[in-house]
Symmetry: C2
Subunit: 369 residues, 2 copies
Amino acid sequence: MTAAAQIGDGVDAIDTPALVIDLDAMERNLARMAEFARTHGIRLRPHAKMHKSAAIARLQIGAGAVGVCVQKTSEAEALADGGIADIFISNEVIAPAKLERVAELAKRIRLAIAVDSSLGIERLAAALKLAGSMVEVFVEIDVGQGRCGVAPTAAGALAQQVVSHGLRFAGVQAYHGRAQHLRTVAEREAAVRHAVSLARSAQAAISGAGIVCPLVTGAGTGSFAIEAAAGVLGELQAGSYLFMDRDYADNEPTPHAPAFEQALFVKSQVMSRGHSHAVVDAGHKAHAIDSGLPRVWGLDSEYANGGDEHGILRAHREALPALGDTVWLVPGHCDPTVNLHDHYVAVRGGLAHGSVEAVWTIDARGAVR
Amino acid sequence: MTAAAQIGDGVDAIDTPALVIDLDAMERNLARMAEFARTHGIRLRPHAKMHKSAAIARLQIGAGAVGVCVQKTSEAEALADGGIADIFISNEVIAPAKLERVAELAKRIRLAIAVDSSLGIERLAAALKLAGSMVEVFVEIDVGQGRCGVAPTAAGALAQQVVSHGLRFAGVQAYHGRAQHLRTVAEREAAVRHAVSLARSAQAAISGAGIVCPLVTGAGTGSFAIEAAAGVLGELQAGSYLFMDRDYADNEPTPHAPAFEQALFVKSQVMSRGHSHAVVDAGHKAHAIDSGLPRVWGLDSEYANGGDEHGILRAHREALPALGDTVWLVPGHCDPTVNLHDHYVAVRGGLAHGSVEAVWTIDARGAVR
């Protein structure tokens, strides 16, 4: 689709619905996270599954990140095409045809990948051998999410298999997605304590197998400060900190963690107006609702689900916006919201009176394979 | 993104996750709905917000549909670019810049649009005057959803305004989105009875204003047979019948309505396997969960939410698929699932042993403006 605005347009001229970045807020978030990693002596490898943009990945690397993570082979390809030279696929790939692409990609960038099965390691090794390329391999352990990853005690045997296939063992992938969204600090601390103890068990199992474990990598925006303090992780994968969303804003703030600002918005417009409600032109084809409905920004109003293409605002009659008015929405969940759009419209100078400084393609939109 | 398969590939070669159409099932659905409209003497204008594809719209028009509906100006543009010559934007457009595009589009196709405000009519008339083009105008009434549309009693005044601005008044838009998903026939019948009585009131108000009301248009896959029997609607807008989804399958079947088959699937693969669960590579970036989680097709297993990129299957241990196995998912809701993908992979000969007959671009993917 055509972008919703052009460089130089005022905010008013941005067509709706559109995915808009408040650049000033984003840059402050970028700097705060870079500073946190620097002062804690920990590597930052932000998760690009969130923003899917080579332009934004370049900003993160420019601010000190060692590279980025992605979840899918096609995401890695899209970002490599955009010039990103150090990517970790922090997820398993089991299809031989995809592993061929992984092996091809490894010829042109520094690439890492996660494994959690013997079959996965065998197939990866076969594809790399055929292509004559090499990747770094992380063994993923399940640190409490009950999704991918082996039990920590099994990490030693898998690491040994990685090495015996002549692959580079790079360490342990220990990410706990669900822990990010536990509302209280106490809950997140408990989840991280458990995750960190499992990561230590994995380190012990690997060391017991006579193999050096160079790195434990993991953490997200909801838990990274707790994980950094625990001292086992050497690399943080947080991604959402850059944009934030309603779901993260609902978390109790972690002490000693930087305070991040909302930097991602969906600009919408009132396209129908009833006596006691207003209808905006952004439904869940314009923002993802898997983590709940969006928050209406700067307006004392609730957003109710109006289906794929509409949102219904209810408020005190005086607070209801008029037909044609702009309404800014804070998405419930940033990652899948970004994945609905083809472009970012990046605004400098604030949402009220700013103008469009950049239009960035969301390079890996739809890159689910 | 690159398509997940090429024409001639066997089903096994389709990369995952991918949006797959069972062509045989889709064609049976297409024929059943065309036959229903024919035997009931009612026009069919399927909603293309569901499939967003010019190729599929052409199949529907070839089977007797008078044209298609869309929800957004950019959807209409994308389908017009794909050769569709009769489109109804069954939704309000209020932004002057968008109305300019509507007026431009009306120069090259037969175009209709909905209005529900004086401001909307004025702006539409101004844009058409400037462009020197013409559209058909439907007045939308609220038939119970509480979203867009005026009260039936207000339809006469709006119709008069349409006429007084020199626009073509085409009738009443009377769609009840929420009624589609009421589970029991009795609930849907009650909702339709109410909607139909409101549509009659609108007809009376328009006739009272001395204006002929040529058509009442509306209905969806959950309610069209009830609306057709009620005899007020002259045109059906159902769209989902072509693909179906888990949400519609959960409805109690309407008597005398054709039985539609599931024709849309997400092909996924087991990419991690625990002792008591399997993880597939399709999360809610590959299928929409606004109407609930997908159903696992042909496998006695439940799909649990594994986040953006994963689904977690739990089953009796013997029923759990193995690492690398294919798992077919029936999306919870077809429309927003389609909107996540760039291509349809259309399979002839069934999901087990068929092959790829066509790869269709989802022309209006992301067309939210």
